[in-house]
């Protein structure tokens, strides 16, 4: 059983301007007794405001919304990277977040070393790390490149390694941002196949995408984010019908092969 409960979560980013970030300014402000005022008037961007929903085994959630609506921030918050300034998140289950192609890899280390580090992070033993390295090497098709520093890879190879690495250890909860769907065509087919088996295996999937077609194919629930708040929450058909212009919606429905 996996659960992911987001309860009244708010996230805000402090805006540090060139000057307010410097020690000098803060020190002078403190010395002149203005620190309190500075803190109160500190500019923040409210990236998420009072977001609540809960996910259980079998849920396939899609996020839609314009750029800057808070989709990626919400994914990062759900992964536990950004801690909320208000509210509570409960993560029950092994979670993997596919948020950016680099996947926290150290670009000066070799591909093999990065795989080893990921294995250690997930608490697997040496034999399993070997298996993991073989698995990632086979999937990413990097073979001898695995002995070279990641810095020497092409950007497509970095995506392949990052993707293979993140999907090699099967999570119970999978969070994905849309970057995965960028890549060369042959890899994309392979990736899509792997993701599909993985999505079937993952107990909870959360996907952020601009593609209505993918959302319709993969999700059974959609949340529309707008200005850091939930604007709509329902089945993909309901929410997409409200979100998209009618002709685009019909097009997406036809492409996804779902009858309206």
């Amino acid at each position: 059983m996996a659960n992911l409960i987001i309860d009244n979560v708010s996230v805000s980013f402090p805006l540090y301007h060139g000057e307010s970030r410097s020690l000098k300014k803060t020190m002078f402000a403190a010395a002149s007794g203005r620190l309190g005022e500075d803190r109160k008037h500190r500019l923040v961007v409210e990236a998420l405001r009072n977001v609540s929903f809960s996910l259980h085994t079998g849920d396939r959630l899609g996020f839609i919304g314009s750029n800057g609506a808070g989709k990626t921030t919400l994914l990062r918050t759900m992964a536990g990277i950004y801690e909320p300034v208000g509210g509570n998140i409960t993560i029950d289950g092994a979670i993997t977040a596919l948020l950016d192609p680099g996947q926290g890899m150290n670009f000066d280390m070799t591909g093999r070393e990065n795989i080893r580090l990921r294995g250690l992070f997930n608490g697997v033993n040496d034999a399993q790390i070997k298996q993991l390295q073989a698995d990632v090497a086979a999937f990413a098709g990097l073979d001898q490149f695995l002995e070279l520093p990641v810095r020497t890879y092409s950007s497509g190879m970095v995506v392949r390694l990052g993707f293979a690495l993140a999907t090699a250890i099967k999570p119970q909860i999978l969070l994905m941002d849309e970057w995965i769907l960028a890549g060369d065509a042959s890899f994309l087919d392979k990736a899509r196949h792997r993701l599909e088996t993985m999505v079937r295996g993952a107990e909870i999937l959360v996907l952020s995408s601009h593609s209505a077609e993918i959302i319709l194919q993969w999700c059974n629930r959609v949340i529309w984010m707008d200005g850091g708040q939930i604007k709509a929450d329902g089945t993909p058909e309901e929410v997409l019908a409200a979100y998209l212009p009618p002709e685009q919606f019909a097009q997406a429905m036809a492409a996804a092969g779902v009858s309206a």
């Binding site: 402090p14 410097s22 803060t26 801690e83 926290g104 150290n106 070393e113 608490g123």
Partner: protein, 287 residues
């Protein structure tokens, strides 16, 4: 690949709550450090890879550090023994320990103040305990220090310096050093992530401390002068160096140095705890 049963069983539900009181903050900070402890194999591997990375393709590898320390001790040792009218046989062992230990302090402060900013991509890619990045800097530098100990051993062998019986007190002193190094990395790392001016400021303060602390010069030279109270007796660097250096050079255990070292360390750990509890949840936003 599926996670092993053990790995999966160890995953209890994680609850992340916006902390509003100090008890919550203390609990999450303690959980963070406990998680780093659990991930010890990762900390160790990261540290070793860091060192290997630094010397990838070089002939001597990390022993370049040993060599450069040896050259420094050898060249500076003979010059300063002359300048200070010291006996080389007494001065060189003193200088070798002092320089090796100071190297450690120097790298802990400079690398510690960058420990979070340099791990930015990891911090922003997945949830992991934040104290892990500080522990990585500490472990890495302990390994570097271990390479440099060779220099001390060789110098001691050449001059037949015999450590005193109280040398066993070096073991608790090492433990104190590790704890202090962790505290310093956490404090400086957090300030360095929030204020980007911190790393250069720290570097220049440490540089000044190097000349003011009895590292190149022996504290005996200042004895019976007023200056020695400030530069020696109340100097935290001196106390920390002396609890390691004194017994190894054959001097008796010095309770006053231990007292000063313990008081400063307690203050340091308390400050680290406070800063970490206060700022832990914001580090991901700062890097």
């Amino acid at each position: 690949m599926d996670l092993s049963h053990a790995a999966r069983a160890s995953r209890r539900p994680v609850s992340i709550t916006a902390a509003h009181n100090w008890r919550d903050r203390a609990a999450t900070a303690a959980a963070d450090i406990a998680e780093t402890w659990r991930l010890w194999p990762l900390v160790w591997t990261l540290s070793m890879l860091d060192i290997r990375l630094r010397y990838r393709g070089s002939l001597l590898g990390p022993f370049w550090l040993t060599l450069s320390t040896a050259v420094m001790v050898g060249s500076i040792g003979f010059l300063y023994a002359r300048l200070f009218h010291q006996n080389v046989a007494g001065y060189l062992p003193f200088l070798s320990i002092s320089l090796v230990l100071w190297n450690f302090i120097n790298t802990i402060t400079s690398e510690g103040s960058l420990c979070f900013t340099q791990s930015e991509s990891m911090i922003r890619a997945m949830r992991m305990p934040l104290s892990l990045h500080a522990a990585r800097v500490v472990v890495r530098n302990i390994v570097v220090l271990a390479h440099n100990i060779v220099v001390i051993v060789v110098v001691f062998a050449i001059f037949r310096t015999i450590p005193s019986l109280s040398s066993f007190s070096v073991l608790p002193a090492c433990a104190l050093w590790v704890i202090d190094a962790m505290a310093v990395s956490l404090i400086l790392g957090i300030f360095g992530a929030r204020f980007r001016d911190i790393p250069p400021i720290v570097a220049s303060i440490v540089q000044i401390a190097f000349y003011l602390t009895p590292i190149m010069w022996n504290p005996v030279m200042l004895k019976h002068r007023g200056l020695s109270i400030v530069l020696v007796e109340w100097n935290p660097f001196y106390a920390l160096l002396e609890i390691m250096r004194g017994p190894l050079l054959g001097n008796p255990l010095e309770p006053s140095a231990w007292a000063v070292a313990l008081v400063y360390s307690a203050a340091l750990v308390a400050l680290a705890g406070f800063v970490f509890m206060h700022a832990r949840s914001r580090i991901a936003y700062w890097v």
